[in-house]
Symmetry: C2
DNA sequence: CCTGCGAAAATGTGATCACATTCTTTGAAC
DNA sequence: GTTCAAAGAATGTGATCACATTTTCGCAGG
């Protein structure tokens, strides 16, 4: 029995910690490609930008580094990891293994409301592709995938997949900025059809195809030697 | 051109950072099951134990938490995550997806020297199983798997798999302590045979069987409701 | 022109202090 | 004995300072 439970309002939880806000801001910057891969990240620079002291920045960077979003080199300086060929391939493989599984696990729990939302997001993607809006495309594409996966609570798989997307972020932006979004083909119709049909294998294969499609297009573009 | 490169000795790199040492110590404690799942972890407690200030502990905990080895609850207090049924299943699925892939990628690069080492480790496992030495079994089992995977440099997959093992650590210990190692069957012979035969699919299946075998045995044991 | 060296600025790390929040204990009222 | 509230201890968080290491810049020598 909790003696608390004072007011009926939402839990009066502690105000969000600053290191969490810094973490979110950093993650956002990486996903949106606002941090150039070559240039390094400095604690004091981030602290000044976000108007906090070094402390929250240190903890946020430690956390993002553990997720692979940043890399602390032996100099102890922090960089956006270089995208080498093998790293790229490994990231793609990991995505192609985990995401179909996450989708399949979510499938039985996707109700009509969520499917409707997924369809709406797919429409947004179509618009973004036609207008060439890279920012909107990336946001909507992320929402499409994770609205599917999140139908089932997956406290293990989803964070793992999020970490993979985080690692692609900076380069997706660079690639799209170079080749544009015109080449992208919308492979999501297959996924939507499979969801509507409750087709487990079909959904797995659709997600896998979507990943391979987008990644193959990138593969030919920027990649550094090992 | 680096102007450095002064002496031929190993790089005179900075002395290891304390937060890295604390991180290693923490990870070790979790894998070895020295931290009871129920009890919490306090910054000052760890700092006193390891004889450092709060700073390195804070960064180490942030890092381990990002890897899923610890959990910062909304109270901002740190615990070993509870092993629920769904969490357990997700962890097993992730292992069964990533580890066969890592093994298959390593297969072409496993030379005779490494295979010899793998065989030696398997012998250690047999001994540990016969003598019921839980500690030795866990160490050797870890070495067996990662000696295979590490044949190919996998800067993405291997850390992900390590993070999964880290999450099992505390409970493996608890389970083995309860049911003993007598039940364990050594499924590694299949893997060794597949490596010797350069049998990609055979190795994948052997690794997968090994995972399922060990995990299924655990599944019936301790697990909390969601 | 550029090569190398020394000074100066910048950076990451660790320690200590202060403070708000949370947990634990204590003690009185019923 | 049980319940509840207040006092006390413990904990996580953030800021500031100090220091060793690294990087960057300027200037001399070739």
């Amino acid at each position: 029995m909790k003696s608390k439970e004072s007011n009926g309002k939402s839990t009066p939880l502690s105000p969000p910690a600053k290191h969490d806000q810094v973490y979110e801001a950093l993650r956002e910057s990486l996903v949106r490609g606002r941090i150039v891969p070559g240039r390094g990240v400095t604690l004091r620079g981030l602290a000044k930008t976000l108007d906090v002291s070094l402390m929250p920045v240190r903890e946020a960077i430690r956390r993002i580094s553990a997720e692979g979003g940043l890399e602390v080199r032996s100099n102890r300086r922090v960089f956006v990891p270089d995208m080498t060929t093998t790293r790229f391939e490994e990231l793609v493989v990991a995505r192609s293994l985990l995401e179909p599984e996450a989708a399949a696990r979510a499938l039985p729990l996707i109700d009509s409301a969520r499917l409707k939302r997924i369809r709406a997001i797919d429409d947004e993607i179509d618009v973004a592709l036609r207008t060439g809006d890279v920012e909107a495309y990336m946001t909507a594409n992320h929402a499409f995938h994770f609205t599917i996966y999140a139908a089932a609570p997956s406290p293990v798989l989803i964070p793992m997949i999020e970490a993979l997307w985080l690692r692609f972020g900076p380069y997706m932006r660079a690639v799209y900025g170079r080749v544009g979004t015109g080449i992208l083909v919308d492979q999501h119709e297959r996924a939507i059809a499979a969801i509507a049909a409750r087709d487990d294998l079909g959904l797995r294969e659709a997600i896998r195809a979507d990943i391979m499609d987008g990644m193959n297009m990138i593969g030919s573009s920027l990649l550094e030697p090992d």
